[in-house]
Amino acid sequence: MIGWLAFAAFFLTNVGIYGILALGLNAQYGLAGLANFGYVALFAAGAFTAALVLVPPSPAASPETATAVAGGLGLPFPVALAGAAAVGGLFALVMGAVSLRLGGHSLAIVTFAFAQIFGAFLAGEDWLTGGQFGISPVPQPLRGLVGSAVDYLFLYLGVTLVIVAGCFWLAERAAGSPFGRVLRGIREDETAARSLGKNTGSFKLSAFVLGGVLAGLAGAMWVGSIGSVHVGQFVPIVTFNVWLAVLLGGIGNNRGVLLGAFLLICIREGTRFLEGIPFLAAASAGNPSLLPSLRYVIIGLALILVVRFAPRGVIPERLRGRGQAAPPEQIPATEERR
């Protein structure tokens, strides 16, 4: 019973973290039409930042630390969250400043390349990131507040859900505001948007940074939940997992992409039960990479099928018509009319 509850808490925490990631990619792609194929780099930037903020100054003092890192800052969790969000946003700013002038294909390739290079950097710079081994253990945030490990899972789930709610609010407000309207227009036709007086470059950069901030936050939540971080967690498939969540749930719809994150984690965790199939269990005994590989095959197939047969996702983007405007009688308009 406890086992199942713990699993549920862990499962939902994962849904929450991928939900934040999906909200961030949705701000970039769903809202502004920017195909970021290197999204995982922003996630990784947030995760490593949070780890470095959380790890105590001299981890070498403790014998069980396998890490080569010189030491972190040993600061509390809110600082880690803020730092991860800031670094995620900053990374997005750099990535966007370099690549956003390019449209379509080139943007996809450059962002993809950016993530590959960032991976090489994370693997290569041992002094900062612990190289292939990464940083481990990272102290569990807020661990002192509750006693048992299971209670902690629930506490952490609660924290995650609060942060998801905050991100959802931010994303919804942004999408429904004039800011979001300009982004959606740019997504539809950048030339037209420019001809109507919008500085599309700076709007696209803003959307990119918003996505980076959310990815950074998700990175911090991820580190807190796993308790360690290493470069192998941030392979390209992570980017496309998030893409799958966004495409599956509904491009441009924040509720949809949260549902998409839930469905994604169902697919991912659901494949664990493949072990229950005797034939596969026997086969995977001889080939340990069988089940993880099968999972990726399923995710790849899901990408292909969603794009082909359900391009708008489960909950399509909703239209915003006249009803959305505030009733005109509330406050008389201040500006004179033409």
């Binding site: 195909a35 370099v98 690549s99 449209g103 090489a120 590989s293 990726y296 995710i299 794009v307």
Partner: protein, 297 residues
Amino acid sequence: MDVLFQTLVYGFATGGVIAVAAVGLTLSFGVTGFINFGYGELLTVAAYTTYVLTEAGLGLLPAAAAGTAITSAVAVGVARTCYQPLASRGPLPLLITSIGVAFVLQNLVRIGFGGEPRGFPAPTWTPWQLGGVFIPKLQTVIFLVAGVCMLGVHLLLRHTLLGRTMRAAASNEDLARLSGLDTRRIVLVTWVASSLIAGLGGVLLGASQGDITPSVGFEFLLLVFAAALLGGIGQPYGAMLGALLIGLGVEFGAAYVSANYNYALAFGVIVLVLLARPGGLFGRGGGNAVPSEGGTP
């Protein structure tokens, strides 16, 4: 002196492998209009089928030929079932689909052979010795094979009716359709040509790397992209030159700077080229190869 010379030979060999793959990629881009992220997996499939066939007792050359043919069959099957139905929906759905294809193929290979490196059955030749300088024989042969392949592509494009129609279709699909060319057939033929080239590229990649893993092609893809972009996407001759530059850059970077940052180098090249000349170094100024506005999915 010795190191310099060896690095040069390795650079040309790596450049040759990149060139083969980049030309194949760029051919398919020219006609289908999207960058195929699943292209690296075609190299992987070719390398593994060649490996399997030699394990089964075939000689390297027949195994490589059969592996290339099998790769082409896989590629055409994928194009028919996955890409063709999306042809009218713009580049992004195709891009995403090609990612999906990449993951499926890569992980099917991993299911079949596990994740550990397998030794590619490249011949173990001793280097030639020319007056105190060692010339790696395998690398030289790889470069020569790549060169012959490039020559073949050149002859195909310039001197056959098929090549000319392919180039016409690549430069303007609407125009090609209007002038009565059978674009569907050209697309199919291009897929065959581009995947045969990918097959050869996979064999050369396996031979040059010695060990192959299921992600060998995917990891190589970035260098291929860099070369294709450097030369101007969709432009085979530009891609060949771009590939040689990238290959030399990678090998000299590894020999004289650090092997860790090979990809960083490639990436830097991609970014600089795209920012300075969106049409590629050897491409038309800012032509239609890289659409820069209206990223509508």
